[in-house]
C-alpha cells in the first residue's frame, strides 16, 4: 500500500535542490513579514506574487494550491462568519437579518487575518512539500544545531502525516468491529473515543520504541558525526538568506516606527 510518511513530493526542480536553510529562511521571513509588515494587502500580495510563483518554480504548483486551500478554507469561513457578525466596534452595517448584522469592519478584519494565516500555512507547506525531512535535519545538524532540537523540529513536521496514516488504520479497525462512524452527530461523537484512544495509547507505545531506536543509532554520542547525505549550498544562497533576514528586520522596523 502506498504510504506517504511526509508531505514531501519528489520532483526534480531548482526549488527542491535549494539548501534547506534557504527555504527555511524564505518561509520564516514570509511569515514574519506577512504578520508584522505594513499594509492591508501585504499578505495577499506575498501569497500571490511570491508563494505561488515559487511553488510553480518547484513544479509543485497544483499540490501546493490544493493543500493550502483545503487547510485554510474551513478556518477562513469560520473567521468570516464570526468576525463579520461579532467584530467589536464595527459600525458600517452592510446588511442585516433578524438580530444579526454584517459589518464592514468585521469583514475587513476577517480578510486580513485569513490572508495572513493563508500566507503562513502556504509558507510552511512550500517548505514541507519541497524539502525531505531528513535533508533538513542533516543540514541543520551539520550547522551545529543540537541534534535533539532538529529531531524535535523534524519529527513535528513528520508527525501529521504519520498520525493521519495511523488514524486511518484505527478508523478501519473500529469500523470492522461494527462501529458506525458516519451518520448522526450523536453516532459521530460516540465514535470519537474508540478512535482517539488507540491513537493516543499507540503514540505513547511508539515513543518508547523511538527512544530505543534513536539510542541504538548513537543519537546522544558526543563525537562529531559524518553524514552520508551531502546537502549542497552556495555563496549566492547565503547572500539571499542574509538579504531575507535584513528585509524582515526592515519590514518589522517600518511597522514599529512608521515614517
Amino acid at each position: 500500500m502506498p504510504d506517504n510518511l511526509s508531505l514531501y513530493i519528489e520532483r526534480d526542480s531548482p526549488l527542491q535542490r535549494l539548501n534547506p536553510l534557504t527555504k527555511l529562511a524564505i518561509s520564516f521571513s514570509l511569515i514574519l513579514i506577512g504578520f508584522l509588515g505594513p499594509g492591508y494587502w501585504l499578505a495577499t500580495l506575498l501569497f500571490i506574487c511570491v508563494l505561488v510563483p515559487l511553488s510553480i518554480w518547484g513544479k509543485i504548483g497544483p499540490e501546493f494550491l490544493q493543500r493550502t486551500v483545503r487547510l485554510i478554507l474551513p478556518l477562513a469561513l469560520f473567521l468570516f462568519v464570526m468576525q463579520s457578525l461579532f467584530y467589536p466596534g464595527g459600525r458600517t452595517v452592510l446588511w442585516r437579518f433578524w438580530i444579526f448584522s454584517v459589518k464592514l469592519e468585521g469583514v475587513q478584519f476577517a480578510y486580513l487575518t485569513a490572508t495572513r494565516l493563508m500566507n503562513m500555512v502556504g509558507a510552511f507547506l512550500l517548505l514541507l512539500l519541497s524539502t525531505h525531512p531528513s535533508t533538513l535535519m542533516t543540514d541543520l545538524t551539520r550547522r551545529g544545531v543540537s541534534p535533539s532540537l532538529t529531531y524535535i523540529l523534524v519529527s513535528t513536521l513528520q508527525i501529521i502525516p504519520q498520525m493521519r496514516n495511523k488514524a486511518n488504520t484505527i478508523i478501519d479497525a473500529q469500523r470492522s468491529r461494527g462501529l458506525e462512524t458516519q451518520g448522526s452527530v450523536r453516532a459521530r461523537i460516540g465514535a470519537l473515543l474508540p478512535l482517539v484512544g488507540p491513537l493516543v495509547f499507540g503514540s505513547l507505545v511508539d515513543v518508547e520504541e523511538r527512544a530505543i531506536a534513536l539510542e541504538a543509532r548513537a543519537f546522544k554520542a558526543k563525537r562529531v558525526k559524518t553524514s552520508l547525505i551531502h546537502v549542497p549550498d552556495s555563496v549566492r544562497q547565503r547572500q539571499v538568506r542574509i538579504g531575507l533576514v535584513v528585509l524582515t528586520l526592515v519590514m518589522i522596523g517600518i511597522r514599529l516606527w512608521p515614517l
Binding site: 500500500m1 479497525a173 468491529r177 458506525e180
Partner: protein, 275 residues
C-alpha cells in the same frame, strides 16, 4: 443462509493511481479455511479489505452471502465479516480486556445475555479469562494480539479474517492459534488468513491462494500449490522446508507437514528395502 464469498472480475486502483488488483475472481464456500500468501505489495491486504467493504471495487463485484459490499456500510458488514488487524494497538482503547472484547458484539446490537456469553466464550478460547480485568496495555504485545483476536471472535461472525496472525507470537501462541482455527472450523466458520509464515499455512489451511502483482497466481490445496516452485518463486514465496527437503530427497509426492513427510519417507524406504 450460506455465507459464500463470491468475488467476480474484481479490479482495484488506489486513488494514488496504484493498480492493486487485476481481474480477481474467487469463490470461497462457507466453512473453508483459506490462506493468502504472496510477496509484499502483491495485493493480499487490498483483497481482504474488499471483503468487509473497507475498500470497494473499482470494477467487478464482491458478494458476501446475498450482500454486495457496495450496498452496506462497513459497520453493517461487520456482522458477517470479522477482521483481526495485524497490529492490536490499532484497536485497543477500553480500560479492561473484558470491556474491549464486549465492544464489538455490543456494536452489533446483540441482547445483553448473548453478549456476555460470547465474551465469555472468546475469553476462554484465547485463554484470557484470568486477565479479563487487566488493562490491555499492561499486557505484552503477544497477549494484546490475543485480546484483539478475542474482541473480533466475540462478534460471532460467520467469516473471520486474520491479517498476519502469527507475527510476534511465540510457539505456544501459534499452537493455540491452530486450535482456535480448528474450533472455528468445527463451528462451520470461514477462516481467511494472510500470512508470511509458510509452515503455519502449510499445516493449518486446506486451501491456499497465491497472489502476485494483484492477480491470483495459484489456488488450491497445499499439495498442488507447493509443487509449483517456479510460480511461488515469482512472488517471493519459498515452499516449506519439508517440501524442499522432500524434493531434494526425491521422495515422491509433495510433502509439507511432518506427518506426510515421515509417511513418504517410510514408503520410500520400504520400496528400497524390497529391491
Amino acid at each position: 443462509m450460506s455465507m459464500r464469498i463470491a468475488i467476480e472480475n474484481l479490479h482495484f486502483t488506489y486513488p494514488s493511481g496504484v493498480v492493486a488488483l487485476r481481474n480477481v475472481t474467487l469463490a470461497i464456500e462457507a466453512g473453508e479455511q483459506l490462506a493468502i500468501i504472496g510477496q509484499n505489495g502483491s495485493g493480499k491486504t487490498t483483497l481482504i479489505k474488499q471483503l468487509n467493504g473497507l475498500l470497494r471495487p473499482s470494477q467487478g463485484t464482491v458478494r458476501i452471502g446475498d450482500w454486495l459490499t457496495t450496498e452496506h456500510s462497513v459497520a453493517k458488514m461487520a456482522a458477517r465479516v470479522g477482521y483481526v488487524f495485524q497490529n492490536p494497538d490499532d484497536q485497543l482503547f477500553k480500560g479492561t480486556v473484558r470491556d474491549e472484547v464486549r465492544f464489538g458484539p455490543g456494536n452489533l446490537g446483540f441482547p445483553a445475555e448473548k453478549i456476555e456469553l460470547l465474551v465469555q466464550q472468546a475469553l476462554t478460547l484465547l485463554e484470557l479469562t484470568d486477565k479479563a480485568d487487566v488493562n490491555p496495555y499492561d499486557l505484552t504485545a503477544t497477549w494484546r494480539k490475543r485480546v484483539a483476536m478475542a474482541a473480533v471472535l466475540a462478534m460471532d461472525t460467520p467469516i473471520v479474517i486474520f491479517d498476519e496472525p502469527t507475527t510476534g507470537q511465540d510457539y505456544q501462541s501459534v499452537q493455540r492459534l491452530a486450535q482456535i482455527f480448528q474450533t472455528l472450523h468445527e463451528q462451520g466458520k470461514t477462516v481467511i488468513a494472510i500470512s508470511h509464515d509458510i509452515d503455519f499455512v502449510a499445516e493449518n489451511f486446506s486451501r491456499i491462494v497465491v497472489m502476485g502483482q494483484g492477480q491470483v497466481l495459484l489456488d488450491g490445496p497445499a499439495q498442488t500449490v507447493f509443487a509449483q516452485a517456479e510460480v511461488l518463486n515469482s512472488t517471493d514465496v519459498e515452499p516449506p522446508q519439508l517440501t524442499r527437503l522432500g524434493q531434494r530427497l526425491a521422495i515422491g509426492p509433495v510433502v509439507y507437514t511432518v506427518e506426510n513427510f515421515l509417511a513418504a519417507l517410510r514408503k520410500e524406504n520400504d520400496m528400497q528395502g524390497e529391491r
